[in-house]
Symmetry: C2
């Protein structure tokens, strides 16, 4: 008796904001396992701003390819439980992560590299952290924050660090990692609630709501003597303000440019790049998936900090697989705090005996 | 009897293109030397695109300050002969460089740092190279090319290198240094004559005139498999094209952005900076004067290459101090090849006995 599963598929590439009509949920028959594969019932699936880059005709050069229309979305981090295994090293009941998200049942080839290695099927240790933490601080978000701050930024003692989208999945980790490193940290976000969260829960030294005034003024107030490192999740006016505020030999780490993801035509870049020359600045873009060699180290260290309570993380949980597109739209609007997750409901086994 | 000298002074900040009326030549009395000073008769003075950054109300943050109006321009590399010395280590007849350019007689304080150290009064070895070479390949242009390519770009074996404004003072050295390092080198310039010079005299592997078509197409033709390093002297559309052509982990070294120096309002930056994230690119701005520690090494190595004929350099020489502004205007228009220099004529001693 074949098992039925559900998949969220894009049916059109959104123009600007994401709409429910850009997706549909389809019921599909789960095919029998081949040798080397496992069947996973997904319990949590990730919602990431960068998915927007793949929800268009062509993804940017060098990035993962665009999601084909009307097919399951491959390359989204997901946590689940193994239901059946024909692969060595995996047995029924194992908690795993993999990259076949936005569906409730996934057939996953055990050895197949996914998402540059981050998303390859991996058994998770869930004794000390709940499974969904492996989609946030112990997963791709954690890797991105850890690699960006400790391996890309060229952090030096005493650096003043500004993080934008600081209440987001990655930003909220970056600000805390920078604080653990003894830095003065400025966080910015798009709502007063987030600003309160940054100060009260995440311990930043100064925070501002970027809607509250011209960015250069807000930044000058938060960091009167300038900044040394800017961790960019936003792009656009934020990047331009950072170039203005950076001190000599300052560094920009570009993790993402969420302000531009929905644009029909790319907005122009910062008009003050010449400051990179006059101030000797370094601007580096990076992807967490280029740093998979750091995964074991990151999980060990972040795991300790989480257990010791030195690292906090918040989740925005959306209930039900069908809500994944709405969750992404909310994330891109700036509505969410911390890691955005979809909890996938357990639909009683549906079979189709006659199929 | 006081000696009279001439100075070229800015009298208004140019709007867009530089005009003769933005400057005037004034005759001034050369003041008597104090202890620790030397009097230099300047023989050659430098003309550099970056001077344009200081010919405005405010220079960019982090750069040398704007030239005050109706004062001699301090901070322009110049070569001359010591006429009189009250400083230890300098005697009449010495050939020196210093930073009090665009005038025929300069009183220079021997120990006073100028131009971040590059322009501090220095005795030159003119046995193996003519004095004016110390304003080009053995001076600030040489230091900028050498530091940018060998210390900022993070060159790796096999890198394909694109250099814009490749027939200019810095670019023409960068292409040759990259060739000496065994790299495939693409040079671009703004005229067919310059393109011929790049191929025939400087040995680049491919060259194009950027007026000949859309830059991405020209670049694709010259480097079908992409580039690894872009040495930017131009900014604007050149930088944007480079970001498109760079391969994974590529690097941009921004030396200058001559396309933007005359703009009344800064033009927008590249609209494709997101490629820095997806391709893991590094963009670094720098100034030669931040690398004065490399001066001795650079002069030794570049000096050898020049003597061995492995490094060639061309000069655009303009005759007469009063022509310096016109020389700068021509340089900024893209008219000049190699290092632009003004040869300062020897005006017979003029004294004013009654003064």
């Amino acid at each position: 008796m074949a098992r039925l599963g559900r998949e969220v598929r894009p049916v059109s590439y959104p123009r600007g904001e994401i709409r429910a009509s850009d997706f549909r949920v389809v019921e599909v028959e789960v095919r029998p396992l081949r040798r080397g594969e496992v069947l996973v019932r997904n319990t949590w699936t990730s919602v990431d701003a960068a998915l927007r880059l793949r929800l268009r005709e062509r993804a940017p050069a060098g990035y993962f390819p665009a999601f084909p229309l009307d097919e399951p979305m491959d390359g989204i981090m997901t946590v689940g439980e193994v239901v059946e295994s024909r692969a060595d090293g995996f047995t029924s009941g194992d908690t795993v992560w993999h990259a076949s998200g936005w569906r409730d049942y996934a057939v996953v080839e055990a050895e197949r590299p996914a998402l540059g290695g981050v998303g390859t099927l991996t058994k998770l240790d869930v004794r000390s952290a709940p499974p969904q933490a492996h989609l946030g601080p112990l997963g791709a978000s954690g890797l991105t924050a850890y690699a960006g701050l400790f391996h890309v930024a060229g952090l030096r003692e005493g650096d003043v660090v500004w993080v934008s989208a600081a209440a987001g999945a990655v930003g909220s980790l970056v600000v805390q990692l920078a604080k653990l490193g003894g830095h003065r940290v400025i966080g910015s976000a798009g709502s007063d609630d987030k600003v309160r969260h940054l100060v009260a829960d995440l311990g930043v030294d100064a925070a501002f709501n970027h809607h509250d005034g011209p960015l250069p003024d807000l930044l000058r107030e938060a960091a009167p003597d300038g900044i040394d490192v800017y961790f960019d999740n936003v792009g656009g006016d934020h990047l331009e303000a950072a170039l203005g505020a950076l001190r000599r030999a300052g560094r920009v780490v570009i993790c993402g440019m969420v302000s531009e993801y929905g644009a029909q035509t790319p907005p122009p870049g910062p008009g003050n790049l010449m400051l990179a020359v006059t101030k000797g600045l370094t601007i580096r873009g990076f992807r967490g998936s280029d740093h998979t060699f750091l995964l074991p180290e990151m999980r060990r260290r972040m795991g300790s900090w989480l257990r010791e309570g030195r690292l906090r993380h918040r989740e925005t949980v959306v209930e039900g697989l069908a809500q994944a597109p709405a969750a992404l739209a909310a994330l891109l609007r700036g509505d969410n705090t911390g890691k955005t997750l979809v909890r996938i409901e357990d639909v009683p086994h549906r079979g189709n005996a006659d199929h």
